[in-house]
Symmetry: D3
Subunit: 72 residues, 6 copies
């Protein structure tokens, strides 16, 4: 505990993921009053054909590719 799940578009590097994990784990320890070793972080990555907003698949909205639009 806690378990933090991050759903996002595919395309981040391992460096980005590690940096994010490190910093939100510290933040959880600091703000939510838990030990760092009890924090789990999981990434669920999505293709644009599996994510939609405003009634439209992001594949059709943004085209092929990953994570370049600042909205994913």
């Amino acid at each position: 505990m806690p378990i933090i799940t991050v759903k996002m578009a595919k395309g981040r590097t391992i460096e980005q993921k590690q940096k994010f994990v490190e910093n939100i784990t510290k933040e959880a320890a600091r703000t939510l009053n838990v030990k760092e070793e009890w924090v789990t972080v999981i990434f669920d990555e999505y293709d644009r054909e599996n994510w939609a907003s405003n009634g439209q698949l992001h594949l059709l909205k943004f085209g092929q590719g990953f994570g370049k639009k600042g909205a994913e």
Copy 2:
């Protein structure tokens, strides 16, 4: 808000996904009283070796392949 997640067998086309997204987003706007631009839809697609019912993997129940049985 709202966030609608659809877990299902792999094998739908982009056209099926887009049609479904379009119609349930409209339905959410109409029935749940939200704006369409606030509706997110996410698809989680599964291989048959990762879905089971009645104590049996769908891979063993339905064989190799996708979404042909009307139960997935």
Copy 3:
């Protein structure tokens, strides 16, 4: 299969939920090629203190209460 989960703010009536369930189940049968009896729909309802966007809890953004803003 499929399993459709709807995360949204508290405050919808049973009539709204039933109407939504009915219509998205029909839509799933029509568009995703499944039988209606295989569609499960689950609602996860949230208080505004447990939902945030743009770095702010919806409790602080919208105040006390439920589902009146069209963004939830």
Copy 4:
């Protein structure tokens, strides 16, 4: 996008939640290269009778109450 879900024991204050939301939203913007307004954070809070580790409900491990053990 992204959608960050935090599963944890009940018992955090609104101030703790707001602080956490603020800081991880900034961190997501900085590290994952998204706009802050696209980040959603959701808290799923649990009673100790609904969370278990090592084969034991936390209710039986920690007793009644909330979030005092640094492991939740």
Copy 5:
């Protein structure tokens, strides 16, 4: 790891939950080749107005109450 989430109707006792946790944790250790102390089990409990199958809320299908029908 692993994290096992059980979505079900409200109404099980603490004894039922503890028994289930104990046995599936052992089963995970035995079959999935993990240590028991790394298994987390979480229960998400639902009211019948928040669960539907075949296009109908379980509240309307089963009436008020909990977990008496063997289908929940």
Copy 6:
């Protein structure tokens, strides 16, 4: 109902999954008082670059590969 989701590292065989499904479905029927045909089990499998604990991706902690450490 119930729906049991198992998040774990990639690398289990179909035999392991089938065995686990079979036994936890029986256990759910026995302990939670449901019929076996109403139990759904879903596996969400993760690469080590998408799972972290104690502020570190398991890819960096355990190296390349799958499910050999008893902690996944």
